[in-house]
């Protein structure tokens, strides 16, 4: 493997915000394609960061930082990328449920999913079930990610699941929940498909669905 590709991995692993641009530029100059850089450099780099997060070596701020490092690299790659390769793992509609306006966790998940090849439609906060279904229908999304922090708003998760049933989408979309007030028990109670405790959990779950779908 070329040293420059390993340097991309290293830059992400070491959260080298200031160095990544030059490193990716060098890869392009050496004739590597954007797809190769993403596949061989960025994705494995993010996987290392994710593993370090799970092992307790890295923290949430480091995940954000890794996302920012990738963000620095992406404009350089996007200009030269073949259309259709971005967001290849599928579309995820993300929202903080109705009544809740907390978005930090949702934004982290969005950033991690985007950096890992998902097309993310972020509807923002306090989003009613109907709007989530509209977005899923119009985009053809197969995945929905719901965030809830407030205990008082957990019923909004059920409303989304019910809306998916009533619009005939329930069998076509996977609904994953996360956030401070959520749990595996709540996931089962509300009829969602999966619960992710962390952003890396969410990535693993959506990756699993994307690979199996």
């Amino acid at each position: 493997m070329k040293e420059s590709i390993l340097a991309v991995r290293r830059a992400i692993d070491e959260l080298d915000l200031d160095g990544i641009g030059a490193i990716v530029g060098r890869c392009l100059e050496e004739g590597l394609s954007p797809e190769e850089i993403i596949q061989e450099g960025i994705s494995p780099g993010l996987a290392i960061v994710g593993q370090k997060f799970e092992e307790g070596e890295y923290f949430l701020a480091d995940l954000i930082m890794a996302g920012e490092v990738v963000k620095e690299a992406m404009p350089l790659l996007k200009d030269r990328m073949n259309p259709g390769n971005d967001g290849g793992k599928g579309t995820v509609v993300l929202a903080t449920v109705a009544g809740d306006i907390h978005e930090i966790g949702k934004n982290i998940v969005g950033m991690i999913l985007s950096a890992n090849g998902f097309e993310v439609i972020d509807l923002g906060v306090d989003v009613p079930a109907g709007k989530i279904m509209e977005a899923a229908q119009s985009s053809g999304a197969r995945f929905i990610g719901l965030s809830a922090l407030l205990t008082t708003m957990v019923d909004s998760i059920r409303e989304v699941v019910d809306a998916a049933r009533s619009t005939g989408l329930r069998d076509k979309v996977r609904i994953v929940i996360g956030g401070a007030c959520t749990s595996q028990e709540l996931c089962t109670e509300m009829g969602a498909d999966a619960y992710g405790e962390t952003a890396i959990d969410a990535l693993r779950i959506f990756n699993g669905y994307a690979a199996g779908a």
Partner: protein, 389 residues
């Protein structure tokens, strides 16, 4: 033993006659249930077209002369309700951090923006909307920084009254118009921006921390001068699954400020309690090294293991919290479930002292009745030597 002596003894690691109680603040629904509902619900009052017009047009100008006294009356109701509920120690806050921008928007003076919205129980509350400082230019132009001396004066005036009215009945944990230095930075610049700023905008981050340290120091000294025996500070350093950032970085960035603040509090003879939500397991050693007397939250919904913490740090710091607000202190639980959990916490955390039982958080959905059940259960089962069987 008087409630105040009980609480101060627990914070000092001295014996107490009983496991003390602390109320982690009450919101409008709860204090209305204790003290009686207002004739006109806040939501109706604030939501009518005339009020909206006034707030949209003159919100900023009216914030301190008109709205602040009304806010202060609400804050006093919170203290009174906590005392009436029978807690040994109560969270007393002066929130003079907001400026009303319009009927739906408030800013906090140190850089964050909040929605003003109904709480679902006929009252108004606020929720974080986003950062107000998104660039170096925003920081330099931010127009709402207060004069820390003015804040200290109003803190002193407010707490003199609170101490004279309630300070003989319960131990006041006072929080002036200052939020935690780290969480204020996070809210002001946004979570996605904060790690980048820490790396790239070191001078701005340092200036931000220094400004907030000055506010904390001066208002904390005013609290103590007013007779408040315990200073409490919120600063949420963790999420559900762990610290927001590397504990070493937290200590490097915020440790020097907290060490200076806590030393100043101790030098004046008061105690210092830090409230930090989430799983702080990796941070407890850091907090202890800063000199805190007590730590509050130990959120049951996070991954923190309160029993393990009792074993690890129970001789160095007083553990405050334990009672969940996600289920137990809601309308959904049964009274006997609250009693069972209180007994369990007392049985496991009470022996050896340095434990103050408390809700892990305030929440607008907490019914006053469940807090009474909790206090009654502690009165029944919390006497030393502990025997909860």
């Amino acid at each position: 033993m008087h409630a105040i002596e009980r609480v101060l003894n627990a914070l000092a690691g001295k014996p107490t006659d009983h496991v003390p109680t602390f109320c982690a603040m009450v919101e409008d629904r709860t204090f209305n249930e204790v003290l009686g509902k207002p004739l006109i619900p806040q939501e109706l009052l604030m939501g009518n077209p005339a009020a909206r017009f006034v707030l949209d047009r003159w919100g900023r100008a009216l914030t301190r002369p008109v709205f602040q006294p009304e806010v202060n009356r609400g804050l006093e109701k919170r203290i009174r309700a906590q005392v009436e509920l029978g807690f040994d120690s109560v969270w007393a806050i002066l929130d003079e951090t907001f400026i009303v921008i319009d009927h739906a928007t408030m800013v906090r003076f140190n850089g964050s923006i909040f929605n003003l919205q109904p709480d679902g129980f006929g009252n108004m509350t606020y929720m974080y909307r986003g950062p107000g400082i998104k660039s170096r230019e925003d920081f330099e132009a931010w127009p709402y920084w207060p004069d820390a001396d003015d804040l200290a004066h109003s803190t002193y005036r407010f707490f003199r009254k609170m101490v004279s009215r309630y300070g003989h009945r319960a131990c006041l944990f006072g929080q002036g118009p200052a939020y935690g230095i780290q969480e204020s930075l996070l809210w002001a610049v946004g979570f996605e921006r904060m790690p980048v700023w820490i790396r790239r905008e070191k001078d701005l981050v340092k200036r931000y921390i220094d400004l907030n340290e000055e506010i904390c120091l001066k208002t904390n000294m005013a609290l103590i001068d007013a007779g408040v025996p315990v200073v409490i500070q919120t600063d949420d350093f963790a999420f559900k699954s762990g610290p927001i950032m590397n504990p070493k970085l937290i200590d490097e960035l915020f440790g020097p400020s907290y060490r200076r603040i806590i030393k100043a509090v101790h030098d004046r003879g008061a105690k210092y309690v830090l409230h930090s939500c989430g799983d702080n397991t990796l941070l407890f050693d850091t907090f202890v090294s800063w000199g805190v007397d007590g730590l509050h939250a130990y959120e049951n919904t996070s991954n923190v293991d309160i029993l393990k913490e009792k074993r690890l740090h129970g001789d160095k710091v007083t553990i405050i919290g334990g009672v969940g607000v996600d289920y137990l202190l809601t309308d959904r639980s049964r009274d006997e479930e609250v009693v069972t959990e209180v007994k369990r916490l007392i049985g496991e955390l009470g022996p050896g002292g340095r434990f103050i039982i408390a809700p892990v958080h305030s929440l607008s959905s907490i019914p006053a009745h469940k807090l009474r059940v909790m206090v009654d259960a502690v009165a029944r089962y919390g006497a030393y030597p502990i025997s909860v069987s």
